[in-house]
Symmetry: C2
Subunit: 467 residues, 2 copies
């Protein structure tokens, strides 16, 4: 019978020592595949240890796949090459996500706000006061929809700035719109087909895909989503951004909005998810009423986020549900806890109620308008003027730059990347091959640009495009 010494095992436990001895013998070939191990009882007696010591050692060996058991017969050594699954070795260094991102001279892809733009002192003050004065409330689990004060503040804000009649109870707070999309799939149903915009924001389709939910890409033009294609697609839920389509910047006109509502009311179970992000930054023209505001049939779910208007520092989004969906949510999904920490909710409520949010939006709008105007002026005064056309510049935060060139999009993007400019082409946002994709059109998200850099950036663009 196998024998191992239990002297000098230091602080190691008996079972672990035994486990290691046997494992070593298996790996060295001393115990070849198929060998029957001694019964627990006789092995324990022989080694002078308790049954449980042998039992635990065998259990660990079995758990790690070194031995297997045949009921009523005993334990046998496994063929080592059979060991499943091969454990990966630790990867060298950090994963890509944790390596600081490349610093571009200009990043026309990411939304970014500069520290001097964020109201740190006000935000700190509100957080401090919340932590000082709200001890009791901070430790209570919030309602599933979120802290009532915040939902009231949002309701008032929507009334005042978007002319929307949404009661506080209709509002559900969540940690980002991506999380809320996931809840909506659970609410509206995984059997529904979801219509997403083409071109569009890739993440929306990724989220439906990742949740194994059927989705169709419906063409979007200057007037928003194509309602005839939507009707023919058999989709049940249209996920759209009528106030500010990304990346084309198109604003869905009022007539088309009614057509979309008409589509939604024509059959039971049809809904529109109205993603109103960035609508606050519309730089020209009168704000257009939301679909939610003109919906009389409870077909529209309104969504917006503070992550874009404030900063990624504040991870708070919300949706407003029609009453019959709210009841359904309460019945089926209210077991989910609210995903935003109480104290952030209280601080944001104060931020909105005390008028800071409005001030911030106004300041940012002025700031973005200035960057946009100077960048457009820079381009128009430069040699680029003869070969570039700027489009959809009023939607806020980005415009389209069409270049009259024979250089391929790919080559132009590579040149920009080498020069330190992060750029994306309109074509990248199309999902299915569509015949009339506009080539040579680039999405210029200028939110992260500083005014000082504009001359340098325009010069770099000239080199990329004209050389």
């Amino acid at each position: 019978m196998l024998t191992y010494s239990f002297t000098d095992i230091g602080s190691d436990s008996l079972y672990h020592h035994l486990y290691q001895c046997i494992k070593k013998d298996i790996l060295s070939g001393g115990l070849p595949a198929g060998t029957k191990l001694p019964s627990k009882r006789s092995f324990a007696k022989n080694l002078g240890v308790s049954n449980i010591t042998v039992e635990n050692a065998y259990a660990q060996l079995q758990a790690e796949g070194y031995i297997y058991s045949i009921p009523k017969k005993g334990f046998y050594v496994r063929e080592i090459s059979d060991l499943i699954p091969p454990a990966r070795t630790r990867r060298e260094g950090l994963s890509e996500q944790d390596i600081p991102q490349k610093r571009y001279v200009a990043d026309f892809v990411s939304n970014r706000i500069h520290p001097e733009q964020f109201p740190f002192s006000v935000w700190s003050k509100l957080i401090r006061e919340t932590l000082l004065n709200r001890h009791e409330e901070l430790l209570e689990a919030p309602p599933w929809g979120g802290i009532l004060e915040l939902r009231r503040a949002i309701s008032n804000h929507l009334k005042e700035f978007r002319n929307m009649e949404v009661s506080a109870e209709q509002i559900i707070i969540g940690a980002g719109t991506e999380y809320l999309y996931g809840l909506l799939i659970q609410l509206l149903g995984r059997d529904k087909i979801y219509a997403v915009e083409n071109p569009g924001y890739h993440k929306i389709a990724q989220i439906y895909g990742s949740n194994d939910v059927k989705h169709c890409f419906i063409p979007v033009d200057k007037n928003g989503m194509d309602v005839r294609e939507l009707e023919e697609s058999g989709c049940h839920v249209a996920h759209i951004s009528p106030a500010h389509h990304f990346p084309t910047g198109a604003v869905t006109p009022i007539g088309k909005r009614y057509e979309l509502l008409g589509w939604a009311t024509r059959d039971r179970g049809r809904y529109i998810i109205e993603d109103d992000y960035d609508s606050e930054f519309r730089l020209a023209g009168k704000p257009i009423p939301t679909l939610q505001g003109i919906d009389r049939s409870e077909r529209v779910i309104y969504m917006n986020t503070f992550t874009k208007t404030l900063a990624s520092t504040i991870r708070i989004s919300y949706m407003a549900l029609p009453y019959h969906l709210l009841e359904e949510f309460e019945t089926r999904l209210s077991f989910y806890s609210c995903t935003v920490s109480n104290f952030e909710q209280y601080a944001l409520a104060r931020f909105i109620e005390d008028g800071y949010f409005e001030k911030h939006i106004n300041r940012m709008r002025t700031h973005y308008r200035r960057i946009r105007d100077e960048l457009m002026a820079g381009i128009r005064k430069s040699p680029l003027a003869s070969c570039c056309k700027i489009m959809e510049e009023d939607a806020g935060l980005h415009f389209l730059l069409h270049v009259d060139t024979e250089i391929s999009d790919e080559e132009l993007l590579q040149r920009a990347e080498r020069a330190g400019i992060r750029l994306s082409s309109l074509a990248e946002y199309y999902c299915n091959p569509i015949s009339d994709i506009q080539e040579h059109t680039f999405v210029i998200n200028y939110s992260g640009l500083s005014v000082q850099k504009i001359p340098e950036v325009v010069n770099m663009l000239i080199k990329c495009i004209l050389c």
Copy 2:
């Protein structure tokens, strides 16, 4: 032809005024069902307005279901009773979620921490310093796994206090474990069958159900999940809490842990979700190594949360993925943004690194032990001693109280409710009928109790049970 006046319409738009006039006539019966409306062009001419005004009015009426169109023929008034769907009226008052919760004399169901227990001053200081010193970092989008500093702090904490080898990059931060469960379903697959504990925490099964994912209830006894039933169930993923089973308080012994790992390695695609919540509050005995710590085959996903150990004020949880799953996550799911605000992540990182978290845990453990000991002593010195048995008192935060009585569970729970005591029975946590459910056993979660109230609460329990 229809005629409406456009004088005195105030600030109303032309199309909206026209829409309201026609709608009024439809509702009053002036325009009965089936009436053909004038063509847009002739109606516009007749009214002296533009075609687009009539078009928008018709579009809104159509959107709201008052009229319908027959292609190439025109618009017709719909039968009003056909209008779909009937919009709900606004509900009276607030939804139930927003009505302040009933205050119990003692709430033995909810986790709650009292303001004097939460380290408000330290937390405020850390938040303040973060907001003061981290402007640049706070405005950058965090890596998808979360802020690296926090993940490093957690990795060190797990090494020091749970003897676990988890690298920072393996850790993924999320706004609550419920959110992370949703991500895991997307990672491991909706085609998998998930094993949940019976009895157990209802929410786990609700989340799988709400995501349309198959799940089985596998019996759990004093030694944790039944491995034979697990094997026979055909499940692929076992969702368990070996350190502290809720509500029985059972701790899965080491031998059984290896059996569970053995189950996981026996077939490809099997995983264990190890939910380690509350393990920090174990009140007696040596901490038992985690399954993750003894797993050599990358089969265990470890999860824990700060929402329970700190407060619902802080909505931060995390999971540690084995490397091969981390790679898969990066490929398929890293498009999701991290759901926790940057500044909370930085503050929590400091809270852990500077030793405050350890101090807090130790203080809370002492606090909970004192409440538990005094409550148990109060019961044992009272007339309840002769008919009550306390079980599983070491797991922390709750124990089981078995009552030798002929009163039904339901009647006892009602008596408690009337007396102002919120109580739950062990039987409530079973999902499928199981033959040997222990009746007359109650789950006493004492985390929200104050020491001062114990004599009063014991007296109330006496009245409920003995009268």
